[in-house]
Assembly symmetry: C2
């Protein structure tokens, strides 16, 4: 038996705004950051649980404070008991009545709970000697549904529905795992498309993306329609008709403006339009989706909870489910969302990029392929080039496809030297002004 | 010209869980708390801006940390410039791209922005020598709409729509202000209805409520149907047929369970059913509202933003708009919500209670009566008995009606001795376990 003996939180920030990497219509100058958590135990194996919440700079300190408040509550607890019932562990925090007031189930406190839950998933996967996707894909349907809380979901997905989905995927698990290990999982790249890049850089990076084997690229839009038309023209001419181009407005528009703007761009043969308006606006997404069809609407990177995803699916407001690895309350909640997507027959194409999001989120798509949807059709994982070098097990892409990771854990562990080098030093009050 | 010279944050908690005051089906043991902010300037008037975010205990420290992160950014700034454009001030924080990632527009970070915005509203009202409701009710329609951000609202409420509503209410302002000063504004009481109270205490407090002049009481429900039926029977028998009884499930049910449960209680002639399910579930609220009509569905105390309220109204998911004074980003966002409610013709019945929520939220109902909806019909402010003694200007009720407050400010300032006496001392790690 072992005990949780300590934890450390770190405010880790990268100066990405200086490069305009990651610039879009709502986020002109992101500093990719991680509110980082490391959990230690007294077990002889010396294994640690590592996780983080991704942010884009200011406020990362607040996210750290929230993680600390939650992590304090696991000190001294029995590790094996936690790892044996991660479904119960999730419920303990998400339904803690006092913490719940601060959301409920959204924002800083929800993501903090996710970080703590994920640190224990990391520990569980490391103890099993398996990457998260493989750990999950070896659980029985019954074990998987025990990890999911069906409160507020039962009008769309019951425990029995989930069991049925998972049982239907049982027969092909071994074959799909072999396929995944041999061929990987499709990615698409957002690297060419940041709004701050020049036309020349856009064209060069789009060409490189095709040369690298990607079959889809994504461009940021929404700041200026003329610019969008020009940039999409350059991109389409560069990549040719066989490569898909998605666009991403990062919540820039109101409902009617979104419809008008998308219609002005549809001639470029769009794979999807991502985040056309407020991520919380289910009804507007649904109205946009109806109006711009056959262009598909995609959303989810800011979708705060399984309850929001449920409604987006019920309202046919999104045709692509873009889960994020640190936006919701950890692995358990993303399992719920994968099951919801499968129930509605909607493909999952995770949000990634930032720092470490590719490393983390690939596990969900791979698990989904092996044990939930059983399909890679219309599914791919976002990819950007930045900051992979800071991770213990960085993603590997071959000809535009993610290779299945084999390192034990959930993929969020950063190198000690990177953690040390990028610790955020609090600016003086004068600098803050 | 004056400058913001300092701020102080305080973690203030009251041991209410010991009394089971405030206990409901989801919140068995709330410790009413305030993440408190005090802003100081170098102006000769010595006036301070006071505000807080209400929480129910654990996590109040995280809320304090978030307020601190935002408040740091106003140090050294020109007070008059801020007070002259509180609409711009709101947008500066709510659309700060990096802070925005932590929501967007929801949860801990959004409420923290609300606290900072509200502290400056407090200062503005004190400088004007007016209570908030009167300060707002003396602004022109043009000044009021400048305070509101219409992003993500334009499919339901435009600036022109808002101007039209406010201009239509101009003629009667003076008369309604006189009515309000003479007769106050209706309240209703939740004091009898907490789930932790015995049947005897329920009956005694219900009788007292009627004796005190209240025309509506509210009971918590949702834990056990037999208990609910028994308690509603006692309440109805005690108050008679002329007093309205509302019930509140505090998010306890899934959609179909809610419908079934409410139908089992409808014979008690219910004023409304509050928070039947997840506060984020617009579609479920709409389905419940359709199924249980003519019983009205009410929600809003946990509604995170104007975007959620907009959708609740568009989907006819709520028949009562229950704004809360510290859940959204301050006075400006509650103005937006009052205007949305007026546009849809739905009455606003604010959530209050906790600590200081009655003192704060009454201003919105009174401003709404004078300058927005122009009506008290079907409208009332929640009231509970607790903790008013800690405020500089506690609410006054006469025969179940709130008297219009006359003290300058937004009503959130606590007495210095109460702040000192209820500062939360961080427990040791051993206690935290």
């Amino acid at each position: 038996m072992s005990t949780v003996t300590g934890f450390e939180t770190l405010d880790v920030r990268f100066d990405t705004s200086a490069m305009l990497d990651g610039s879009d219509a709502m986020n002109p100058d992101p500093d990719y950051s991680a509110a980082y958590l490391r959990v230690t135990t007294d077990a002889a194996d010396g294994l640690e649980g590592h996780s983080f919440v991704f942010t884009i700079g200011r406020g990362n300190d607040v996210q750290v404070a929230a993680i600390e408040a939650v992590a304090h509550r696991v000190l001294g607890r029995d590790v094996e008991a936690i790892l044996a019932d991660l479904g119960g562990f999730w419920r303990e925090f998400v339904y803690d009545s006092q913490l719940r007031w601060l959301g409920p189930e959204k924002g800083v406190m929800h993501m903090a709970i996710g970080a703590v839950v994920n640190a224990f998933w990391d520990l569980k996967a490391k103890r099993a000697g398996l990457p998260l996707w493989q750990l999950l894909a070896r659980l029985t349907p019954e074990e998987l549904v025990d990890l999911v809380d069906f409160r507020y979901l039962s009008d769309a997905l019951t425990r029995d529905d989930a069991l049925e989905i998972l049982r239907a995927a049982l027969p092909g698990r071994a074959e799909r795992e072999a396929t995944l290990l041999a061929l990987g999982y499709p990615g698409y790249t957002t690297t060419p498309g940041w709004l701050g890049y020049s036309d020349e850089k856009l064209a060069r990076l789009a060409r490189e993306a095709v040369d690298d084997g990607f079959e889809q690229i994504k461009l940021k839009v929404g700041d200026n329609l003329d610019d969008d038309i020009r940039r999409l023209g350059i991109a389409r001419e560069t990549v040719g008709p066989g490569i898909r181009i998605a666009i991403d407005a990062n919540q820039r528009w109101d409902r009617d403006q979104a419809i008008e703007w998308i219609k002005a761009l549809e001639r470029f043969d769009l794979a999807w339009i991502e985040e056309p308006t407020s991520p919380d606006d289910i009804l507007a997404h649904a109205a946009i989706a109806r109006a711009v069809a056959p262009v598909k609407v995609a959303t989810g990177e800011h979708a705060m909870s399984r309850v929001l995803f449920k409604q987006l699916l019920q309202a046919e407001a999104t045709a692509i489910v873009q889960i994020d690895s640190t936006r919701v309350a950890g692995v358990n909640e993303n399992l719920a969302i994968l099951l919801l997507a499968a129930k509605f027959g909607v493909p999952v194409c995770p949000h990634a990029g930032g720092v470490g999001l590719c490393e983390a989120v690939q596990h969900f798509s791979m698990f989904d392929f092996v044990a939930v949807s059983g399909s890679q059709e219309g599914r791919m994982i976002e990819y950007t080039k930045h900051l992979h070098e800071h991770f213990v097990s960085p993603v590997e892409l071959v000809r535009g496809r993610y290779r299945a990771p084999l390192a034990p854990g959930i993929g969020m562990e950063m190198l000690p030297e990177s953690l040390a080098a990028h610790q955020f030093a609090e600016p003086t009050l004068a600098e803050k002004r």
